[in-house]
């Protein structure tokens, strides 16, 4: 093996229709090195990886400038298949798994070990049967190499989201020729424990000589596993240093070009024990796949921000989804002295509750409709807002102007980046989509808000804005907020109290100032 680095990218340039998105990117990566790539959404990380991976979209939009060298030789991948053949693997932010297949089948899809049979001898290889035993062995080996246990026989559709991510990684690991693995925000959907396991498996892979490009918004993870850190901002590399020589605050500063308050240390934590109970939940059970709630008793005080944390799959997401009627549920929920019937989203909304779903694209948004529709729809349907009456009340008509005004108001307030309020929701970036989801809930002017994973998969800057918006909403409008998140730090930065869910039950409620160890103990106390 020569001394040439495994991967070298020189002077990479890319523009989309005259809009320069990458300028003079230079990267080098040696065997076994772990490179942490960070930057805000829109900084150009994904485009850079698409260029490296030979995605069609790059060629369709006019190709790119500069060159890519693999082991000292210039390469240009026309399709992702060539990149795969050259030993580059990629785990995408969005899953590409077949829901009805098991983990093993997905890991080895189209590369299954096969058995010859009489039929295949006669009619050719296509009639070979799968060698299930060998498949089990290989997928077990790949899972083993990853160092995180997942059930190889479970179908993807019934897996919690974290396990789907691990299945994707195991699939890349099961390839023999893998030399370079790109992980695009693999930990965004993982709980802290799972993320920790992933970091460990990154270290293992790197020991085996696999180079890794690790894209993440969780900066401490980068410092924990990476050899070097590359920070991008506005299509340029603004920092390229060994990980040992930098810090989270320095990276953050470089990413956003300004200093972001990490928060959490200086703020007040209000004592809520004297406040009136706003909602009391008794014996709540929710049948949400992989987020079963088995019996939750919880009192939520008026005007507080209550955090609900816990490991993935323990049921923290089931609580808001069950109460808001998205999944079958039972038990009693009393809001302001009135019982809320479960299983009726309409009744909850009528009772002045609102819900920001963790499933932005599936539940939270009308992707194909305008921002105006997304923001105004719920308030229009529930509270008859933004309607005008025609012919003496014979018809109720959409009041397009009122709809535009309210949307513009929230676009300003939440600093949503969009070309106009008529833009389709699917065209926005994740962070901005999330803000639209918040705007939708705010437009209902609720007195009680469930925000389920409001910061999942969005960048640092957007995250701070979303949390600030929630805090402001709580402080200024006196709205009781229940925020569910897998990131404890995030909960601690905004909540007054934090309830930890474990095994489908509340294992304890602590003030936000309690130590991480105490929370950690609660998280694992009743794990099932």
């Amino acid at each position: 093996m020569s001394n040439a680095p495994l991967l070298e990218m020189r002077n990479i340039q890319k523009d989309f229709f005259g809009n320069q998105v990458l300028t003079d990117i230079n990267l080098t990566l040696r065997e076994g090195e772990v490179l942490g790539l960070c930057g805000e959404n829109g900084a150009g990380k994904s485009t850079l990886m698409k260029i490296l991976f030979g995605m069609d979209v790059i060629r369709e939009t006019g190709g790119f400038g500069g060159e890519i060298l693999l082991n000292g030789e210039k390469v240009e991948f026309a399709t992702p298949f060539e990149a795969l053949a050259a030993g580059i693997g990629m785990v995408h932010q969005e899953f590409s798994l077949i829901p009805g297949f098991t983990a093993t089948e997905n890991i080895l899809l189209n590369r299954e070990p096969q058995k010859h049979s009489v039929l295949s001898e006669v009619f050719g290889e296509r009639l070979n049967t799968l060698n299930r035993k060998e498949m089990d062995v290989r997928s077990a080996a790949a899972i083993e190499r990853m160092g995180v246990h997942i059930d190889a026989d479970m179908t993807i559709s019934s897996m919690p989201v974290g396990h789907k991510q691990f299945t994707e990684i195991a699939r890349e690991l099961s390839k023999e020729q893998l030399k370079l693995l790109i992980l695009d925000e693999p930990t965004a959907v993982l709980t802290e424990k799972e993320a920790e396991a992933l970091l460990e498996s990154i270290r293992n892979m790197s020991k085996r000589g696999i180079a890794i490009i690790f894209i993440t918004h969780r900066l401490h993870e980068i410092l924990a596993v990476c050899n070097k850190v590359v920070v991008m901002r506005d299509g340029r590399v603004v920092q390229d240093v060994p990980a040992a020589e930098t810090s989270v605050s320095e990276i953050t500063r470089n990413m956003v070009g300004r200093s972001v308050e990490t928060g959490g240390n200086t703020r007040e934590v209000r004592d809520v024990s004297g406040l009136r109970t706003m909602m009391s939940i008794r014996k709540l059970w929710v049948d949400m796949p992989s987020e079963l709630v088995r019996g939750v008793d919880l009192d939520i005080k008026e005007g507080e921000i209550l955090g609900i944390g816990g490991l993935a799959g323990q049921g923290k997401l089931g609580i808001p989804n069950g109460i808001m009627g998205m999944y079958e549920a039972g038990g009693t929920v009393i809001l302001d002295g009135e019982e809320i019937p479960l299983g009726h989203p309409r009744k909850c909304l009528d009772a002045s509750m609102a819900f920001v779903s963790e499933d932005r694209r599936g539940v939270g948004l009308l992707l194909d409709e305008s921002l105006e529709w997304n923001v105004s729809f719920a308030a229009m349907q529930i509270q008859n807002k933004y309607l005008k009456k025609l012919f003496g009340g014979l018809f109720t008509w959409r009041n397009e102007r009122a709809i535009r005004e309210v949307t513009e108001k929230y676009v300003d307030e939440l600093a949503i980046k969009c070309t106009s309020t008529k833009q389709k929701a699917k065209e926005l970036s994740g962070g901005n989509q999330q803000k639209i989801c918040l705007a939708k809930a705010f437009a209902l002017e609720p007195k009680f808000l469930f925000a389920s994973e409001p910061t999942r998969g969005i960048d640092v800057g957007a995250k701070a804005l979303v949390l600030e918006a929630l805090r402001k909403f709580n402080r200024e409008s006196g709205v009781t907020v229940v925020m569910i998140s897998s990131e404890l730090e995030e909960l601690r930065s905004i909540c007054d109290r934090i309830a930890i869910v474990s095994g489908g039950r509340i294992s304890g409620i602590l003030p936000a100032t309690a130590s991480s160890e105490e929370f950690g103990m609660l998280m694992v106390s009743q794990v099932v």
Partner: protein, 384 residues
């Protein structure tokens, strides 16, 4: 290595969206792209290339027609007439597309409601324009009941609506084939002459409501040119009502249900009720549509006739630029005009060119070809 395939090929649009959002969150790429393309191509892209090709072909037919001995004005008049017969039927597709129930292949159910209205109106002794109003009045409750049942069924098989709808349409037509014979109709204008019972396959509307709408304010120029103003006004009224409905609170909810049912559910909308409502409206418009068709055509066609109504209607709206879950009034108008124009003009012109009576063969080839084409294309122009 194929497992990466679904990443790259299954969802090119997803990738594009991702790109748009990550690269240029503040600029609209589609507009950028259009600017790059220049005004002509941008216009073509926004109108949809296939629609442009069909429109040009139709235009070519109009130009060629006089040279091969067809009277130009007769042809224009024909196309406008065919448009006026069919537009309401095509409009009936809109509500179900909006609510996410897909294309209404079960249109024959609505048509049967209309046929029952028509025949009962005559049986009960209504004549002249009154028989048209009576037919609508009788067809309405039938359409609501049948549409209700049909909607209830579609709510139980979410995801497979179009398949089930096709069979609902077919089986209802077959069932009615028996009923037309067995129902105790007695009106001498409708029953078989010798037997004195059982309805004829074709019933003339002369003296009933033949051309009641078409003759209202009709514009006649010479012998061969006539614009059925009344029918066009009626179509405009129905289209306006549909447009207005889609702008009401309920209409908005219906569109949201089609766009993302889970979102609608989370926003407190009763998804099943919206879908049911859309099916009922669709069925009722189907009933109304066939009555308008009959008044223009001058005959009631029974038995197997409704079989062949759904596919051309579906094709028309698809050619108009609608997709399986997005449709606008413009899609209806453009699609009906293009489709009916093609199936009217092509056989006539071809016949004159080759001097042989091939019209039926050519009509079948053209109309089925259009259907095939329409069903294979998804969403260019207008749609999304």
């Amino acid at each position: 290595m194929l497992e990466k395939k679904d990443n790259n090929f299954n969802s090119p649009s997803k990738l594009n969206d991702e790109l748009k959002s990550t690269i240029t969150p503040a600029a609209a790429p589609s507009k950028l792209q259009m600017r790059e393309m220049g005004p002509l191509r941008a216009m073509a892209a926004s109108f949809g290339l296939p629609r442009l090709i069909i429109a040009s072909f139709l235009l070519l037919m109009f130009i060629v027609a006089p040279f091969v001995g067809n009277d130009f004005w007769t042809q224009i008049s024909n196309v406008i007439n065919r448009f006026s017969w069919n537009a309401i039927l095509v409009l009936a597709m809109v509500p179900m597309i909006h609510s996410g129930c897909g294309l209404n292949f079960g249109l024959p159910l609505g048509i049967i409601s209309g046929l029952l209205g028509a025949t009962l109106s005559i049986e009960l002794g209504f004549t002249g324009p009154g028989s048209f109003l009576a037919a609508i009045a009788i067809a309405t409750p039938i359409a609501i009941v049948l549409g209700g049942g049909y909607g209830w069924l579609l709510n139980r098989i979410k995801g497979g609506e179009m398949m089930i709808a096709t069979y609902v349409g077919f089986s209802s037509v077959s069932f009615m084939c028996m009923m037309w014979l067995l129902l105790p109709y007695h009106s001498p204008t409708m029953v078989w002459g010798f037997a004195g019972k059982g309805l004829r396959t074709t019933i003339s509307l002369e003296g009933f409501y033949s051309e009641v709408l078409a003759n209202f304010l009709a514009i006649r120029v010479g012998e061969n040119f006539k614009i059925p103003t009344g029918t066009l006004l009626f179509i405009a009224l129905m289209a306006f009502l549909m447009w207005a409905f889609l702008h009401t609170k309920t209409g908005t909810a219906m569109t949201a249900v089609g766009s993302n049912p889970t979102f609608a559910k989370a926003a407190g909308v009763n998804v099943d009720r919206m879908r049911l409502l859309s099916v009922v409206i669709s069925t009722w418009l189907g009933a109304l549509g066939i009555l308008v068709y009959e008044q223009g055509f001058g005959f009631i066609q029974l038995y197997n006739a409704p079989f062949y109504m759904a596919l051309p209607t579906v094709s028309a709206i698809l050619i108009g630029g609608a997709s399986v879950n997005k449709a606008s009034i413009a899609n209806v108008v453009i699609g009906t005009f293009l489709f009916q124009g093609m199936v009217t003009m092509t056989p006539t012109v071809m016949n004159s060119v080759i001097h042989m009576d091939m019209s039926e063969v050519i009509r079948v080839i053209v109309s089925q070809g259009m259907i095939l084409y329409a069903l294979t294309r998804k969403t260019e122009g207008g749609g999304r």
